[in-house]
Symmetry: C2
Subunit: 485 residues, 2 copies
Amino acid sequence: MSAQDKSVIDIVQGGPPPSANFGVLSPSAKQRLSEQLGPEGALLAPEDLQSYAYDGTFLEHRPDIVVLPRTTAEVQTILALATEEHVPVVTRGAGSGLAGGSVPLSGGIVLATTRMDAILELDDVNMLVRVQPGVVTADLHAAALARGLYYPPDPASQRQSTIGGNVAMCAGGPHGLKYGVTKDYVLGLEAVTADGRLMRTGGKMIKNVTGYNLTQLLVGSEGTLAVITEIIIRLIPKPRSTRTAMAVFPRIDDASRMITIILNAGVVPATIEIMDQDSIRCVEEWQHAGLPVDAEAILLIELDGEPSAVDVELRDVERLCSERGATEVRLAANAEESATLWAARRAVSASMARIRPTKLGEDISVPRSAIPEALTAIRAIAAKYGLLIPVYGHISDGNLHPNILFDRHDPEEVERVNKAAGEIFDVAVGLGGTLTGEHGIGSLKKEYLALALDPVELAMMRQIKDAFDPLGILNPGKVFPARPA
Amino acid sequence: MSAQDKSVIDIVQGGPPPSANFGVLSPSAKQRLSEQLGPEGALLAPEDLQSYAYDGTFLEHRPDIVVLPRTTAEVQTILALATEEHVPVVTRGAGSGLAGGSVPLSGGIVLATTRMDAILELDDVNMLVRVQPGVVTADLHAAALARGLYYPPDPASQRQSTIGGNVAMCAGGPHGLKYGVTKDYVLGLEAVTADGRLMRTGGKMIKNVTGYNLTQLLVGSEGTLAVITEIIIRLIPKPRSTRTAMAVFPRIDDASRMITIILNAGVVPATIEIMDQDSIRCVEEWQHAGLPVDAEAILLIELDGEPSAVDVELRDVERLCSERGATEVRLAANAEESATLWAARRAVSASMARIRPTKLGEDISVPRSAIPEALTAIRAIAAKYGLLIPVYGHISDGNLHPNILFDRHDPEEVERVNKAAGEIFDVAVGLGGTLTGEHGIGSLKKEYLALALDPVELAMMRQIKDAFDPLGILNPGKVFPARPA
């Protein structure tokens, strides 16, 4: 199947609604929740419901109630009741997701974890932290750093997003190549099943092959298998030093080939980020940071480790970039200069919102060798449909973010966006890649799942979903495409 | 439940047999397999069946036929036929497993992957290799190194064991702390389901959150969910240098605390291995390598990375060990001296076979902080039951191998071994650890699973097993305890 064949599916509407016939939360159930959770734990006012109707995308649908439990026992109560009344439960952290994963498209209960925000244990001997899901990821970073420890995954949303949301979506960030992503740090989970039972997986052990790896099955399951209530996260020693360089490339092809050249020299950077010319211009027009607007691409390169090693490797990187087409390599002399370089990169996504009313942020992941071809293909798609599609992303791990800028109230433009997005998915899959590297499937990509997944694998995933959630009340209409009629 | 309550279960017999009523392979099916796979692909002679009756433990049971497919299509044929006739299929690589996982305790078909031994693709741009499951792990290491690439997991069995077996058991080895274990390198799988359907999971992407992580569900599933026929493995650049040190500790308590001290200094060793006094003596009596037989423990410490960084870190490690009770720190001056130190470590397991007729090699995994307490408890258990239990293992990742040496033909001693093994499991779980860090559950530990796992988690695992393998023909009687009558 080609993505273009699916033009009936409106990507920007999140696909068709789920078909299950859910119940409507009874007045007595609402009252019971209000009594048990208190006025701040159960929200029913229209303006409150509206506040939990959307996420980081443009999708929107109001829930019937918002619950904000503080304890695992309260989560169990909520889920037992939802099962009893056959009502959807959509779990969310900060609602910063970029796939429509936490929008309650079928109404029902939104379970927000933001009041479950305790760091329960920071064990610096075993280098791990045990947290509730509502801890903001940046707060987890800070708590670890205060003890000389380091939690490498740092999605761009880290100042808003919660660790629970990060785990549910398997969030990534720039450090995928050297340090892996969220899943690589989750050692154990406590979760509540759809019918309210408590389940524990994994533990504080680094090595554990006792039974199937249900921890990794729950990571990235987008709230469709269970509600995560506690997370054990592995930390690592803080790298002894970190250095940042920015390399300016007149030709994007040269930039996109650097990662392979650097790795083949035996240097594993903490990250290499790319910004294409449109991305550079979006940021520069907003922030006037002195970025080279005539360059086709810049790379931000971060190295970390023993200072003497970082010095050697930084010189290697500088030399390699200069030999391969970089016209300038700026080395940040200190943490402040480094922060300035990173601020530009972090501003990319927000800067695009100034250009056009709507942004569809894609998240394809391809084998590293296919990056130059993917970038070329995306530029061709942008030209074909007359759309502005700035691209940035984590090229060290093959994860690119083409951002389609448009106006969702212009039906003709929306039609072009749908076609362009479909073609971008085709390009990714055709190059041996996939639909999403770190944002998840959610609502926005579910109708394309069969494009990227083997049909037997997809059938097995559905069986697992049915085993965990036989009533289908956990985040309905997400991840899986509508079943064929 | 305490492990001691389970004294009716005879650990050294691998627990009770599976209860499912399987079919017996029909003569026509045997003939069909012989015709399709040829004389070297289907073995029926008693001496051949005997060769595939055991693994690295002392368990033993003959299959009815041994098949050695060369292609995925042949694996599909075998499984479709097994489903048709309701006959067990026990997949094995080299049969070096240490949990009785590949012993065909219910007879049926042994599917050996040893002729599926092709390295299909070594892609040094994307730094990955695509292999059939029968590739010997050491050959994979060598092929990677020949291109300047590195595959870190190196179970002690690597010269015999296959990568398919490593993936099925999620094999570990010394490098768990810095580099992770087998699961951390598996990017994608091709597998055949119990009824013969082909399934693909993951791919060549570093980042991939498209749907549930079935790759990680299959890794470590011990041949109970599907038969793995192809594996995509991530490689990393070969570290620019590697150095080894051996530190001699008069007191094992001092040795067991070093890992935390070294990590807290910001140094992440590639590995720290421990050998206790009994282990040292086993090796020394056999190999006369000049090991310090009066020391309570030695540590083997390996550092790798940029040479200048390794030099700095090695000096840090030497100083820290000397400050904390080491009477001697030997630094290997070159690769040859390093190999000599490692040879002693690699000889431990084999050296024990010379002491007593039978060895029950345990594999507990505990949080790092619990290592001193675990070592003390194991010594107390050895004394209590009058058993020799040398301990060695990967203390940098909390994974210890207490080896109970005995004679399995002495019923009185076997009874003491059963009790001691049960108490060791109790100690591991009581310290927040688990039954197995890298050997798997197989037959030997399955009756203890409920000791280590949450009942809801175990129920979910059973549901997943039933979804993948509704007839229960894949490696029956492994991993899961007998269902309550």
